[in-house]
Amino acid sequence: MAGRLTARYVAGRLAQLAFVVLGVTVATFGLLHLVPGNPARTLLGVHATAGEVAYLSREWGLTRPLPVQYAGYVGRLLHGNLGTSVYYQAPVAGLIGHALPVTLAMLAVGAVFGTAFSVPLALLAATRPGRPADHLVRAVPMAGLGMPPFWIGFILLLVFALTLRVLPAGGYGSTPAAHLESLILPGLTVAAVTTPVLVRSLRLALLEVLGGDFVTAATARGLTRARVLLRHALRNTMVPAVSVLAVNLGYLLGGTVVIENVFGLPGIGRLLLTGILNRDFDIVQSVTLVYALLVVLINLGADLAYAALDPRVVLGR
Amino acid sequence: MRDTTARSAEAVLEIRDLSVTYGGRPPVRAVRGVSLRLARGEALGLVGESGCGKSSLARALAGLEPAEGQVMMNGRPLPHRRTREQARRVQMVFQDPYASLNPRMTAVQTVAEMLRVHRLRPKDQIAERARELLDLAGLPSQVADTRPAALSGGQRQRVAIARALALEPDVLVADEPTTALDVSVQAVILELLAHLRETLGLALLLITHNLAVVSAVCDRAAVMHSGEIVEQAAVPALLASPQHPYTRRLLAAVPRLGPPPG
């Protein structure tokens, strides 16, 4: 059987997705109403005058019943209107449109580095179980998980930008080449956050696969060990590894907020933080929403790919 | 009094047209319209291969599984959702002694909990009664205060039996109570069940795939196949002249008990 990517599976998965997206909008909508008291006061901060608060309440319709406000919010979203930044005096959709590619590029560079680090490390450990190399590699997740992402960024910044002066210390440059150069250190930081998780799951999956019958069979058929490792074992390992990554996506993606801030990259994470510092509510609300949509969509992609590749997976909970 | 009531009064447990269906696509009908009667003090064997629905039937009787049809206890209906008093009427002993006891509770605590929740003894007599029950089930008193991890499989099953007896049930359902035990212990536990049935007047429903177990303990046996009872008879009759082809197949698998050739 060629996987379980049936129409029913996809339909079920999409229905679940629709529900989650709806819930996500309830949550981002609720953000404003999380604080007891007047939401307009929340928006404007403690220094606003009573007149300003009253004006904003009227202007935003904050005095209407919550369900009406929520319907208005969703209607606005469906028209692609993500609000207006008070600080930048610009539509938030446009700001996110500029920032999102930067974040995605950083994640892509990070994914490349992450794979380049974790696959050899996992192979090294899994082919020598119990030996010093294995112990060393198993210590990586333990040490790595105890480090805040921004700390890893600091170290890289200190070594490569400030001491060796081989890479830019921050910003994004203005040419594609400069973009790429600016993405190396943030990408390495993303990789440093993903590698512990990846190495751990890849090593376990590899150990399982290497003990399996078909690797023995492939070796018996006269394939070289290296070929067996790369062609058979690794390929069978990628599926669980990718799904582990998808499960941890929320944590990894959240780390990008801080990493962008360390390196001054103009991605959506930095947009979120400037929005917070300026109490620019529409930015905070919409970037939070975009982050959630990103997680939901990547998870959907991973699930569908998983269903297509693995014949055993069935939709269920 | 009407005739039907009088007849029901003889049977401690009567099942009429009981079905258990598991949801899912497609739904599985594990038990299909089973009817059984169990008299006071009687030991009925329920025989069948794994997957024939006998455990589902047992779970339905113990109120662990919703079922269609009727379960009558002493002439009164016993619903799926039971009051505490109704729940205590049918108690169960499970197959796996390694999973049937709470690992965090000692043997005495396990039995005492039942007495306490059901208020079957005044507070100050609970511990004493729990030890009495464990003694009745043949558990050495030295291990009454140990946790299951330190007990053998047979000892654990004794604790499970004592726990069931604590509630003074009318019917004890034992689902493969010896299957997971060492051969040497199996006979001892079966003897214990037979002894308890005689001394306490307990009705016993013994579920097993093993006809030898049935012949050792039971008066009557019902053979279950694909969710249905295919044959019911007194044990000697069933062994001597099985009517249903499935029963014959089961007997053939146990050469020692098979009908004499010819």
Partner: protein, 263 residues
């Protein structure tokens, strides 16, 4: 007890002992400014030098540890209790309570951890109380998932079935029979969760959303030291090292516990 666990516990004991004895180990008050000696290098008086306001870095490091460790450990308690309770209910009852809890969980996990924490702290206003609420709002999901999975397995076991057949009330089955047997996984996870929580507290501090200055806190110290990374790296790196060592100690404890329980 595994060697990893023992080493982790020893390391954590040293760290906890040092921050507990901060007044004895540090000669200076962490808030005491000395504007004549700002950004000084290590000396006998100031083992790690001084910061941009002339405050003793070593003293601030120790006192900051008090805040981070205390908040990190305390902030795990509420998600642990709430998440485990929801996991018990969802796993045991199934049906609509399960569906409702799991659908809410789906929504919470759609948000990246830091994004949701940051957004909640933004909405509530920076500060320790907001950190607790934000971490609880986000952190319960892991415990619910773990405990629910364990309950789904355990509720099929004989001791739970026997308790049900005996007509024991649901609360008693949940508290006396299920909880003591399914929570060990959640406890192991709590150890690694403390690491994540301390990192979150530090990160919020670094972003200016956590413990508010001038109170010493590792993340806030790193933020304050960031501009001086090239000329006076100790300012940002000393608290960083403290975080890393603490994280390592807790990770080792979590790993050791997991290995000890055969997980």
């Amino acid at each position: 007890m595994t060697r990893t666990l023992a080493a982790g516990l020893a390391l954590l004991a040293v760290i906890a002992g040092m921050v507990a004895c901060a007044p004895l180990l540090a000669a200076h008050n962490p808030g005491q400014q000395d504007l004549l000696h700002v950004l000084a290098g290590p000396s006998a008086a100031h083992p790690l030098g001084t910061d941009d306001l002339g405050r003793d870095i070593w003293a601030r490091l120790l006192y900051a540890g008090r805040a981070d460790l205390a908040i990190g450990f305390a902030a795990v308690a509420a998600p642990f209790v709430i998440g485990s309770a929801l996991g018990l209910l969802a796993g045991y009852f199934g049906g609509w309570p399960d569906a409702a809890i799991m659908r809410v969980l789906d929504i919470v996990v759609a948000f990246p951890f830091y994004v949701l924490v940051i957004a909640v702290v933004f909405a509530l206003g920076a500060g320790v109380g907001s950190i607790f609420i934000a971490i609880t709002a986000v952190g319960w999901v892991s415990y619910t998932r773990i405990v629910r999975g364990e309950v789904l397995v355990a509720k099929r076991l004989g001791y739970v079935q026997a308790a049900r057949a005996a007509g024991l009330p649901a609360w008693r089955i949940l508290l006396r029979h299920l909880a003591p047997n399914v929570l060990s996984q959640a406890v192991v996870y709590a150890m690694s969760d403390i690491v994540l929580t301390i990192l979150a507290v530090v990160t919020l501090g670094y972003l200016g959303l956590g413990v508010q200055p001038p109170a010493p806190e590792w993340g806030a110290m790193m933020q304050a030291g960031e501009p001086y990374l090239s000329i006076h790296p100790a300012l940002a790196t000393a608290p960083g090292v403290a975080v890393v060592v603490t994280g390592l100690a807790l990770s080792m404890i979590g790993d050791g516990l997991a290995a000890g329980l055969g997980i």
